[in-house]
Symmetry: C2
Subunit: 340 residues, 2 copies
């Protein structure tokens, strides 16, 4: 390493025999500067291991090119931070942000501040927010939106809001899953999940709708409200069977993790899947097909979700109109349900 003090744009410019302005423009590839000059400076920068100081340029331009991604969980007992589906969303968002020249600052709702707009935006930590999950409570999101923070939410796009929400067609997903079980001959179908939660509520609506449409006696069906974790599902299924016997022959799970918890409980009791009980999950996490039997599930298109979220966020930076958007889902038919 050299014994010189840290290289700055001014020194680099000096080295090249041009002004700082020219150097700045050259490194930012500004077409105002002659192409030869630009290339010369860019190479010089590389040779000298020089990188523009982002703290300085952010201060000057008032743009950070950073997006804060907030994993919005209520607490650890809720949908766990280790749910592979949510992490897949983060990963896809990261790819998409990179594509647009943005970087990802990862945060979670357990974080210090309660005022996201203030903490991230006013402080110039980030230009915008991508919030993963509405949870059961969108107060913090509303506060951030009201403060003028550019943001987009992954959640239930049916909810009326002042900010764009991107999410799957959960209602139709719940419908598809339930209808699939009915067509496979299920008569007593459990809904396993938390209908209080916005997205899960929509899935539950679809479930109810499918039951109605098929003249299945709703009263004989059962909505079982649990935390959206495999552990909760496992315990609930065990408890249910212990107390009431095997009174159901199908399960619509609010997520794959929930489905897998239920699956485990059933298999431990030597209940045949899908003949005694058929199961449909939601999400299509990578592991869904590794299970035995492989899990039938409703696939959510996370890559498209990431694309739309970043799109809606960037539109806000450009003062363009934004809107919530619903993403199509599809049923992935595997072996945890009976073929029709």
């Amino acid at each position: 390493m050299s014994n010189k003090s840290k290289l700055t744009l001014a020194k680099l410019a000096q080295l090249a025999g041009v002004s700082t302005s020219t150097a700045s423009r050259a490194l930012n590839n500004n077409p105002l500067i002659k192409k030869a000059t630009r290339e010369r400076l860019q190479q010089l920068a590389q040779e000298n291991n020089f990188s523009l100081n982002r703290a300085a340029s952010r201060l000057r331009t008032q743009k950070t090119h950073v997006i804060a991604v907030i994993l919005n969980f209520i607490n650890d007992t809720d949908q766990s931070i280790s749910d592979p589906f949510l992490l897949k969303v983060v990963s896809d968002v990261n790819q998409e942000l990179n594509k647009h020249g943005y970087e990802l600052l990862l945060s979670n709702s357990l974080m210090a501040s309660d005022d996201w707009g203030n903490y991230f935006i006013n402080s110039s930590r980030a230009d915008g927010l991508i919030i993963i999950g509405q949870g059961k409570n969108d107060e913090k999101i509303n506060t951030a939106a009201k403060s003028g923070a550019p943001l987009v939410v992954w959640g239930d796009p049916m909810v009326t809001s002042s900010y764009p929400i991107i999410g799957s067609d959960n209602n139709y997903g719940g419908y598809l899953a339930t209808e699939h079980l009915i067509k496979g001959g299920c008569k007593h179908i459990l809904f396993l999940g938390d209908p209080e939660h916005a997205e899960m509520g929509q899935r539950h609506k679809g479930y109810t709708h499918a039951l109605n449409e098929n003249d299945l006696d709703i009263e004989h069906q059962l909505t079982v409200s649990i935390d959206i974790t495999s552990k909760a599902a496992y315990e609930k299924i065990n408890q249910l069977i212990l107390e009431q016997g095997l009174f159901f022959d199908g399960i619509v799970a609010a997520s794959d993790m929930v489905a897998l918890g239920a699956l485990k409980a059933l298999k431990e009791r030597y209940i045949n899947i899908p003949n005694d009980v058929a199961i449909v999950g939601f999400d299509d996490i990578a592991m869904a097909e590794l299970f035995h039997p492989a899990l039938t599930t409703i696939r959510q298109d996370t890559a498209l979700a990431a694309k739309l979220m970043v799109e809606q966020l960037i539109k806000q930076f450009n003062q363009q109109a934004v809107k919530s958007q619903t993403i199509d889902i599809k049923l992935i038919n595997r072996n945890s349900s009976r073929t029709i």
Copy 2:
């Protein structure tokens, strides 16, 4: 919202009737300032929704309080970005960084720059690097270290390096897994993974060691080199059985994902786990116990790993000596292996 222009420290100070210096110190909770003044200013800031501009303070202090976490994968066919174990590490690192007042900038090795030190550190994007995974090639890490970037790596701590590496006792892990299978009566034990990869190489060493120690004929054992994904494991096991029949009765998998892929292939062929073939995984991902049979595995302590990594990184900021550290592992005995 007010119609005033953006609030700055200077304006806030004016509002409070103190100098900017005092306001700055007060908001940074500098004990030089009288407690009453500090509290008054902190409250005023809150009331006015004011947050110090980080771009400015980072420029001034030359510290960002940001750590870049780099998921260092060679490409998509390698250990996938969706491996729950790695994501768990990221999540734990995030918690730990927050505890120390740092924020996490998430990146992956597919990212623009090849020179991490230059890209993240020289540019004031981050103060340090946490690199998850050595991969098979540590050139980029060496370059970054040589450029003086403070960094710490999650990988194989046995590797000699100029930077601290935190990792599990992989050798002992491989040994434990293998010994466990041997004690359970396995005679022909497969190692499923990529020994070229630093950590997996250590696990393989432990495997060999255990075989030797128990006078098992090494030549009858088999090291099967595959990508560390469940898909590769699934395909390889199928191919092996198709070509050579069931010539093994135990599998030491280099990761849980690999184990689960193998498990699927075996179950599809109605091979009894653990009686016909016993399996031990590595990592103890959350899903390991959801499988049927639940996966016996070597647990890595990611929370401790996160703690040590952040510790070693912060030591570098304070010019303190750093060192690689090995984390103890333990065998989690479940049903994919025979009880001893």
